[in-house]
């Protein structure tokens, strides 16, 4: 099966293959409950997505056969590099940042995220902290001052340029 050699191909296959199944499942439940899974073009909201789902399913099947038959030209093994772990940690940090963003607000969370990322990528602590604060303020000035966006306020409802 050459599972390893085509690891990402199989991952992508699962990812895309799940879509038609989701569509069929929702058509049979949510859309049927709303009464829009049958009838003519005006009242049937499920028909067109079903066509897409069948096409995806057929293409996925062909693709699976191609991978099995070894007709995929590029290999796609998992092959982590020396810094893949760093990228994963950064992603984890970003998830924590998103979790805290709405709660603590832009001004408290952003400098912390940036400083840690800068330091992780090898900048000195002082440069990381100074750079993080400067970037936070600059982006805030542009978005709040120039574009009138209200950045996440957090529980302290704090804003500098609004």
């Amino acid at each position: 099966m050459k599972l390893r050699e085509h690891a990402y191909d199989w991952l992508a296959w699962i990812l895309i293959g799940a879509v038609p199944l989701l569509i069929f499942w929702q058509n049979a439940t949510s859309l049927s409950d709303q009464g829009v899974a049958s009838g003519g073009p005006m009242s049937n909201a499920a028909a067109y997505p079903s066509i897409i789902a069948w096409i995806l399913l057929a293409l996925s099947l062909i693709n699976a056969l191609r991978i099995v038959a070894g007709q995929i030209s590029q290999r796609s093994p998992l092959d982590p590099t020396a810094t893949t772990r760093l990228a994963l940690i950064a992603t984890g940090l970003f998830v924590v940042y998103l979790l805290c963003l709405g709660w603590l607000g832009y001004y408290l969370t952003t400098p912390v995220l940036l400083a840690v990322l800068f330091a992780m990528l090898g900048l000195s602590p002082l440069a990381a902290i100074a750079g993080a604060i400067a970037a936070t303020l600059l982006v805030a000035a542009v978005f709040e001052g120039l574009l009138n966006v209200v950045l996440p306020l957090g529980i302290f409802s704090f804003t500098l340029f609004g």
Partner: protein
């Protein structure tokens, strides 16, 4: 501030030197949650927001939050604090129609009204060079003889234009094939190309496409409405009663805040909005865009919105009637 002056100010670094926070409302920018995708209607809301912001000395940004027939915008605004920094751009759909259809669990009484902003009536229009129909009577006579042969679009299915369109069909016991379009602008193209026979238009679209369409009747009983369609006749002049009167056959919005907003904040917002809506330049810009400033005060909210809710039930009934007739063809 204009964009240019803002850019210049930023270039000089002035934007960074925002003044110290004042203890009094409003001390920061206000958001108005607008329930549709950007477009001509949003521009009308922005005109009011800008003028109101001038009065308050802050910026009011109109945030487009389309989805679920306006429900998403209301849900978004509802999740914010009741501090007056979030306004609801309360269009009929999320305010009255969606709760009526059971898609939302609030009623219009769950909000504190500011002022009513604008309204726009709808009209039946055909191709400018369509000589089959010189007035509304011709159109109705044709549909009576050939039920279901004509095709029409009210834009989005289930909206107010659809309700008034269906109500007109029901009142005259005629039927035409419904073809919905998410954007009414695109329906104009297909009407010109002969794919559609008539459409329910709004003044904004009529303004842009004047040369290509002929308005047969304005679906309203308000004399002002006729003026936004170059003086076209009202539907009542053909002895047709569509069963919807006053504001109910039109699109309109009423700006709102959450019910538990402090009274002094509400007063400030109301005063600012009143001042903004009374400015001649604001009124003129809105009229030029095809939107009639309504000028209803917060005290009239209960009476006007309450009445509309009842009449829209009639519009919904008309749509159901239409669906049944179409299925039976």
């Amino acid at each position: 501030m204009t964009l240019t002056s803002r850019l210049v100010a930023a270039a000089l670094g002035l934007a960074v030197l925002a003044g110290p926070a004042l203890a009094e409302f409003p001390e920061r920018n206000i958001e108005s949650i607008y329930p549709w995708a950007p477009g001509a209607t949003m521009a009308a809301s922005q005109v009011i927001a800008d003028a109101m912001g001038d009065e308050l000395g802050v910026n009011i940004s109109v945030v487009s939050t389309p989805g679920a027939g306006g429900v998403k915008a209301f849900e978004t605004a509802m999740s914010r604090d009741a501090d007056g920094y979030t306004l609801f751009d309360g269009y009929v759909a999320p305010l009255v129609i969606q709760p009526m259809k059971g898609n939302a669990d609030w009623t219009y009484q769950d909000f504190t009204p500011l002022w009513s902003a604008t309204s726009n009536s709808f009209a039946i229009a055909v191709r400018a060079d369509d000589d089959r129909f010189n007035d509304l009577s011709d159109l109705i006579a044709y549909m009576k003889e050939n039920p279901g042969d004509l095709r029409y679009s009210p834009g989005v299915a289930g909206g107010i234009p659809h309700m008034v369109g269906a109500a007109t069909l029901m009142a005259t016991d005629t039927i035409a094939q419904l073809v919905p379009y998410p954007e009414i602008d695109i329906a104009v193209r297909d009407m010109r190309g002969g794919i559609l026979d008539f459409m329910i238009t709004n003044p904004g679209v009529y303004n842009v496409n004047k040369d290509d369409m002929k308005v047969l009747a304005v679906l309203s009983d308000m004399e002002d409405a006729s003026a936004t369609y170059g003086g076209a006749p009202l539907v009542g002049s053909f002895d047709i009663d569509i069963g919807m009167a006053n504001l109910s056959p039109s699109g309109w919005n009423w700006w709102l805040v959450r019910k538990d907003t402090p009274e002094d904040v509400v007063t400030k917002l109301r005063d600012a909005m009143e001042a903004a809506l009374k400015r001649d330049d604001v009124r003129q810009r809105l009229l030029d865009m095809g939107y009639v400033p309504t000028g209803f005060s917060p005290d009239q909210y209960e009476e006007i919105v309450g009445a509309v809710a009842g009449e829209l039930e009639h519009g919904q009934a008309a749509i159901d009637w239409e669906t049944e007739r179409l299925n039976g063809l």
